[in-house]
């Protein structure tokens, strides 16, 4: 199942928007992720959290999409956080230095609660 096929959920929690990424994050997810970003930022959240717990295969195009999200966050002054990454994708986020530009948390609580505390 690709991300574009999956039911995308955007939730607002304590002023933080959580985007649940379900399925593969690849080129086919572009439109869905763009729509999710629009939903997530409509209410001016203090941060956007990407939930990778139900994400599947992430390829280089998916990495590029996440770079796009980071760029949008930077442009709008919205910090981006993430949780639910497998060790393998956490390694990829570190190798690509995505991890330098979004905080990676172990779970949703720490991601939401950490929003605003150390994000700049």
């Amino acid at each position: 199942m690709t991300f574009s096929d999956a039911p995308t959920a955007v939730r607002l929690r304590d002023g933080v928007a959580v985007i649940d990424l379900v399925g593969d994050v690849n080129g086919q997810a572009e439109a869905t992720l763009a729509a999710a970003w629009e939903d997530a930022t409509a209410d001016h959240p203090t941060a956007v959290v990407l939930n990778f717990e139900k994400a599947g295969y992430i390829n280089s195009t998916g990495i590029a999409l996440i770079v796009g999200v980071l760029a949008k966050g930077r442009a709008h002054g919205i910090p981006i956080r993430a949780f639910g990454l497998t060790p393998h994708y956490r390694e990829i986020f570190e190798i690509t230095r995505l991890a330098d530009f979004l905080a990676i948390n172990p779970d949703e609580d720490s991601a939401v609660n950490g929003a605003g505390m150390s994000d700049t």
């Binding site: 690709t2 593969d24 690849n26 080129g27 086919q28 295969y57 390829n59 280089s60 195009t61 990495i63 590029a64 999409l65 770079v67 796009g68 980071l70 760029a71 930077r74 497998t86 060790p87 393998h88 390694e91 990829i92 190798i95 690509t96 230095r97 995505l98 330098d100 530009f101």
Partner: protein, 547 residues
């Protein structure tokens, strides 16, 4: 009052006008008008049955006039009254009554009582009859099933438990019995001087008889192969052994070949079996040799031929269950299609998988398999040197293609992962290899083949002592400046570099080594992962050949 036995019910329905399940046995009737009477037989064409079928109630037997032997017998037996038992319009039995003990005639009330009784008894009797029929059918089915299990057991016990590990060769086999278990078999026989015998055969008939003949053939062939050298002579000897005891109308088709692994020489003889195919660099060719099936007549001679399986060649032995599989329009899969499959698909287990896929597409997913299906492939690894550094003897584990279509890299990485996982890569390295294979395949499909439908990407997995190589080949020729730009996330976030361009960076970061070559239109990226800890500098471009 009289009742009918269960056997009567079955016989009554046999050839009578009342039952549609016609012509089995003569009907018989148990009539007990008095305390102890002999059964009365009613022939299925006796007019009494038709009369009772249409009777509206109890029938006065003494007053009835019919040209009916059964009626005469009933009268002779002292039956006074016959009450038909009808269920759902079908005569399923008759109540026969002798004279009343009071010696008075049956009254109208008596008859009404009996008719009411018959109306209630008939459905119950029908249920009892159905239950008994089903029990009998269940016993028959169970016995049939047990016989099939025995046949399966015999066959499976005489098939090889393991296939030989021949350096530089891959042997794969597929055997799927039909529900009724045919007589397919195959065997791989170690022979003196490192030679290996390959057998595929098919016994006519099905079930236990075929399984027993198969077992005998296999045993005689094994024994003969050890003592004799030439395949034709072996088949002659087997034929002589089988002929005296072969059941009537049974025979065995069989191909027997002997491989010399070092040279690739393959000598073979054929006792009427479907011709094997060899995938060569020039396409697929049939291996022809003449000979009558085994067990038909003694004194047969078997032509012997030989060929050389070159590096990269793959031999397919198959049974007729493949080519004779029908589609819903009763068209057979056929030899031409199988020959074409051998030519276009990779050899070895991949060929088997793809032929089975084609076969299922041909027959339809829900079709019952008509006959046993057996395939054996013998593939010679491509010549050494196909490995890039030539540091050791590579053994090819698999070669397959994926169509150049968006998303197909997922298929490629999953297939490679399944093949590599048993080699002992730890979980983290396996995940890295998956990502590298996915990215390399995606690059090959997109940049190399431009997502052309007629240009698939070829993947090969090879292993050496302590490493695994994955070669991904596209048809885009020598690489130009694909992704020459080193991705920099800060530049990307600043909009000074495109968001994409991570593929090659990920590939080189994930594997221990990466090598890129081109040969004409073919461009190959080889990924190397050491089975033990040997991670090369993860920095892109570090010690990799790929820049």
């Amino acid at each position: 009052m009289t009742t009918l036995t269960g056997s009567f019910r079955r016989r009554l329905l046999g050839r009578s006008a009342v039952g549609e399940r016609a012509s089995r046995e003569d009907a018989s009737l148990v009539a007990v008008p008095q305390d102890d009477l002999d059964p009365v037989d009613i022939a299925p064409n006796d007019p009494l049955l038709a009369y009772l079928q249409s009777a509206s109630g109890a029938v006065d037997v003494e007053a009835l006039e019919l040209d009916s032997p059964a009626l005469a017998s009933l009268k002779a037996a002292g039956v006074k009254l016959a009450v038909p038992l009808v269920s759902q319009g079908e005569l399923i039995g008759v109540l026969h009554l002798g004279p009343r003990r009071s010696e008075q005639d049956y009254s109208t009330d008596d008859k009404k009582l009996l008719e009411n009784l018959a109306a209630q008894a008939a459905p119950a009797l029908r249920v009892g009859q159905l239950v008994r029929e089903q029990q009998a059918e269940a016993v028959t089915r169970q016995r049939f099933q047990q016989e099939l299990e025995v046949a399966k057991l015999i066959q499976q016990n005489f098939l090889p438990k393991v296939l030989p590990d021949l350096p530089g060769w891959q042997v794969a086999a597929y055997y799927q019995p039909a529900r009724e278990v045919g007589g397919d078999f195959y065997d791989v026989i170690p022979l003196p001087d490192g030679q290996v015998g390959f057998v595929i055969g098919d016994v006519t008939d099905k079930g236990v008889p075929a399984a027993l003949v198969m077992a005998a053939t296999r045993s005689v062939l094994r024994a003969s192969a050890q003592r004799l050298v030439e395949p034709g002579t072996v088949l002659e000897r087997v034929n002589e052994h089988l002929c005296p005891d072969m059941p009537e109308k049974m025979f065995v088709t069989c191909l027997y070949g002997v491989l010399e692994p070092a040279s690739g020489r393959f000598r073979f003889a054929n006792a009427g079996h479907d011709l094997p195919y060899v995938k060569t660099a020039d396409g697929s060719v049939e291996l022809r040799a003449r000979g009558m099936p085994l067990g038909l007549m003694p004194g047969m001679r078997y032509e012997e031929k030989e060929t050389v399986l070159e590096p990269g060649d793959s031999l397919l032995l198959h049974s007729d269950g493949v080519v004779e599989a029908h589609n819903p329009d009763r068209e057979m899969f056929g030899f031409p299609r199988l020959k074409e499959a051998v030519a276009k698909y990779p050899g070895g287990s991949e060929l088997i998988d793809l032929v089975i896929t084609d076969l299922r597409a041909h027959t339809g997913p829900d079709a019952e398999q008509e006959d046993d299906i057996t395939m054996v492939t013998l593939s010679r690894s491509p010549a050494a040197g196909s490995a890039f550094n030539g540091s050791g003897q590579s053994q090819q584990l698999v070669e397959f293609t994926v169509p150049s279509a968006e998303g197909n890299e997922r298929m490629a990485l999953e297939r490679v992962s399944a093949i590599v996982a048993p080699l002992g890569l730890d979980e983290a390295k396996l995940k890295r290899l998956e990502t590298a294979v996915g990215e390399a395949t995606m690059n090959a499909m997109e940049h190399g083949n431009k997502y052309s439908a007629d240009k698939p990407v070829t993947l090969r997995v090879l292993t050496e002592r302590d490493l695994v190589r994955v070669q991904i080949t596209d048809q885009g020729g020598a690489p130009s400046d694909r992704e020459a730009e080193l991705p920099d996330i800060e530049l990307k976030l600043a909009g000074l570099q495109r968001p994409r361009g991570w593929g090659l960076f990920l590939i080189t970061s994930m594997v221990d080594e990466a090598h890129e070559t081109a040969d004409g239109d073919l461009h190959t990226l080889e990924l190397v992962m050491h089975l033990t800890a040997h991670k090369v500098d993860p920095a892109p471009g570090g010690s990799h050949d790929v820049q």
